[in-house]
Symmetry: C2
């Protein structure tokens, strides 16, 4: 595995790869890798001839009060893991090269960026779109891989790629969970053992929602009410949002039908966690 | 010359060209071609192995009160001209394919977009950036060509390409003028003979500014004052702006030094015309 930090270096390396007619798969990450990331990496290794993983904790997607500085980082461990998986290039760009002084260009996906997580994280998806577009332009992959854990991000990435006529296929892969059901996340490392236990409430409420639907409940309002009640029964939890939305446009639904996304964000102490499930009713 | 309207068609055609190792030059236009456009086309024909010209009157760069509907169009004449020049592909995308229902993604170059023309045309440069980025992604050119007539657009395009790490060289070519000095523009076709004569005042004021600088004047304020006086002496003219700015960041300068852009927008009747000169002082 080559580990590159300069844009000119990776451009050069990938030019060669493209000239050989190889397809390039790309997995953008913020590092501190877990099995969720690795499921994306393995899919890329399977589908593409050549796999690039980036690790970049992107400052433009963090709000001023958010956890940019304390976001967990462990590059040498990440590099070892990726090397072992068989990744071809690990790209670790420097902030000063990604956002040099006087940087001014930003990409937005209107409407979608203001819903769900966008409400409590203004500017977050603008930052995500901008950095991913930059990485796309540097790497020029044929396919890229995102996790369903960041459900809204996945929808926005697909929309951006489609709207901007990027010739890149976007694959979204299922959430990877710990044995007890908690969704894997680099931010889980913030949790102390008690908070870790409290964090189970997210998935528990999602499973309850799923069960209600299986049993015939079709009112999004009733389901959300029940979910909130469950989450609020956990003293360490504070709800940011609990929503049931259309999977395509992320607009709230009133009645459950077809495919819906049940998504939530909950603070456990000061740690904001997200989780979601997709429920598909065939009636 | 091939004339293509569908994105999938031009992608396919250009894939072949790229596989042959040919470089692609791209000239984005809104059509109704004049010698200004043709100077860009000829430069592309000279520098690139393969030249693509697009004609697309882009709705997202026009304000609601602007001239989108009446903007002059003559595709068959344009196609004849480009064929004769030796262009390889004329791309004429359809609005419905460029902006399908539910289109949501936009690109902005902050700060630069709010100066000069951006003040009286809010959203204009967002529309320009968005459509050009889409065309770049469809065509994937090695080089592209813009006219200095749209000075602010040229600065913004360079900035967007640089910020977004697009691997495209941006060339900006000089303004082409009629024999009497008026800058070539598709919008000149709106002018009746009397307005056409009145429109000479734009270039006249720019030449006067240049002369003042040659003669030693260094106060931007004094020069602008003199230019406004000249323009206001023409009863058909109404100033939108007259500014002297830094060529890189488009910020107003107080004293003339190094390279400055003297730019103006003036209404002749209801027709808004722009013009500019670059003055370079070596002291």
């Amino acid at each position: 595995m080559e580990q590159l930090t300069k844009i000119s270096e990776i451009r050069k390396a990938l030019e060669k790869v493209r000239r050989q007619g190889k397809t390039i798969g790309f997995v953008p990450t913020m590092g501190y890798l877990h099995e969720g990331h690795l499921s994306l990496v393995r899919e890329s290794l399977k589908k593409a001839d050549y796999t690039v993983v980036s690790i970049f904790v992107n400052p433009t997607q963090f709000g001023p009060e958010e956890d940019f500085n304390r976001y967990p980082r462990d590059l040498s461990r990440d590099a070892q893991i990726l090397e072992k998986e068989g990744v071809d290039i690990l790209f670790v760009p420097q902030t000063i090269e990604m956002y040099p002084e006087g940087y001014k260009t930003f990409v937005e996906v209107k409407d979608l960026q203001n819903l769900l997580c966008g409400k409590s994280r203004p500017g977050h998806f603008r930052g995500v779109c901008t950095v991913v577009l930059k990485l796309f332009n540097i790497i020029q992959p044929n396919m890229c891989f995102f996790g369903q854990k960041d459900a809204q991000q996945a929808v926005i990435m697909k929309k951006m790629v489609h709207d901007l006529n990027l010739d890149i296929s976007v694959e979204v892969l299922p959430i990877i969970r710990e044995h007890d059901g908690i969704a894997m996340s680099s931010r889980n490392s913030y949790l102390n053992p008690e908070q870790r236990k409290a964090a189970l409430i997210l998935y528990k409420s999602l499973k309850e929602a799923e069960e209600m639907i299986v049993e015939g409940e079709r009112s999004a309002g009733n389901i959300i009410e029940r979910m909130c009640k469950i989450i609020n029964s956990e003293p360490k939890a504070r709800i940011d949002y609990v929503e049931i939305v259309d999977l395509k446009n992320l607009n709230p639904v009133i009645a459950i039908k077809n495919e819906v996304l049940i998504a939530l964000a909950v603070f456990i102490g000061s740690v904001r966690l997200i989780d979601n499930i997709i429920v598909n009713i065939k009636e």
